[in-house]
């Protein structure tokens, strides 16, 4: 699994730096019994192919706002309207697409679902009923969680 989460971290950083944002600093790696995330803003992307499951990018509101600002060049400042959410969805699509290409380069071929954005306080979430790897990362203005609940599909 180690190469898989490092692929996702490098994909996030690659996309963020393209937008002029600072790279995220990984703080902690956790293994969770269920693929869950405890952040107010979450983007779920499904993976199918050589690896199957869901990846969740969870973030604090401030982090989501900063990403939306970067995506829209300052036109939209938060995720309160659909334009902001659409920008965030597109950013997550870019990150997942980059990760999918990087995975393909190491021989893991995947197909992606469009991102679904879920926003709310005190959410209770189960993403996949498998053990997942969660990387907690520090952004410029808050914390972001990358939760990877993928497993190898039997040949």
């Amino acid at each position: 699994m180690a190469p898989v989460y490092s692929v996702f971290i490098s994909s996030i950083n690659e996309v963020l730096t393209q937008l002029g944002l600072k790279e995220l600093e990984p703080l902690k790696l956790e293994e969770r019994n269920t693929n869950c995330c405890n952040m107010p803003v979450n983007a779920v992307i499904g993976f199918e192919g050589d690896m199957k499951g869901n990846v969740v990018l969870g973030m604090e509101n401030e982090v989501a706002g900063q990403m939306v600002r970067a995506m829209t060049m300052g036109i939209v400042n938060n995720i309160c309207d659909n334009l902001g959410i659409s920008a965030l969805g597109e950013l997550c699509n870019m990150i997942a697409g980059t990760a999918s290409i990087k995975l393909s380069n190491i021989g893991i071929n995947t197909l992606l679902t469009p991102p679904t954005i879920i926003i709310g306080e005190d959410l209770r979430i189960i993403v996949s009923r498998i053990k997942s790897k969660t990387v907690i990362m520090k952004a410029e203005c808050g914390v972001m969680e990358l939760d990877i609940g993928l497993w190898n599909k039997p040949a």
Partner: protein, 153 residues
């Protein structure tokens, strides 16, 4: 294609409701391009890939989910985790059946991603999705299915 997939979901929902709680829910309304859900309750999201990319979101009032969980498990004590698991399992079965009906009768083949479940006061948005929201009347609270495909009908 979205119409055909929606019909497959309606058939699968009827089958599953009848099988588990012996009740066929009544379709109250079908709305187009409702890509935002703003509700308190539980939603389960299952993605599909293959010939087209998309997702199905099933929303349950917690009262309805509790009714399902009690009938499926045959027990009165249902905790929160079981409720979430019930939503995931229902979405898995409904989407699995719907995609099978669709694939059996279509050249475009879809494959499912395992479901994810969210509970609480939620806003769910799927950017760039063409969707149909099928709103049901049930015996125990609100239920709807939002079927969406990327890139038009």
């Amino acid at each position: 294609m979205i119409d055909k997939l929606s019909r497959c979901f309606i058939r699968a929902i009827d089958d599953i409701f009848l099988g588990f709680i012996e009740f066929i829910p009544e379709v109250q309304d079908i709305r187009e391009n409702t890509d935002e859900i703003n509700e308190e309750g539980t939603v389960s999201v299952v993605g599909f890939v293959g010939g087209r990319r998309g997702r199905a979101i099933l929303y349950y009032d917690n009262e309805l989910l509790m009714f399902f969980a009690k009938n499926m498990l045959g027990q009165e004590e249902i905790d929160e985790e079981i409720l979430l698991e019930t939503a995931a399992e229902l979405n898995n079965i409904i989407s699995g059946n719907a995609v099978t009906y669709f694939n059996d009768d279509s050249e475009t083949k879809l494959r499912l991603i395992p479901p994810s479940v969210f509970s609480g006061r939620l806003k769910v948005v799927s950017p760039k999705i063409t969707s149909k929201q099928i709103i049901y009347k049930t015996i125990a609270g609100k239920f709807f299915a939002n079927i969406g495909l990327e890139g038009g009908k």
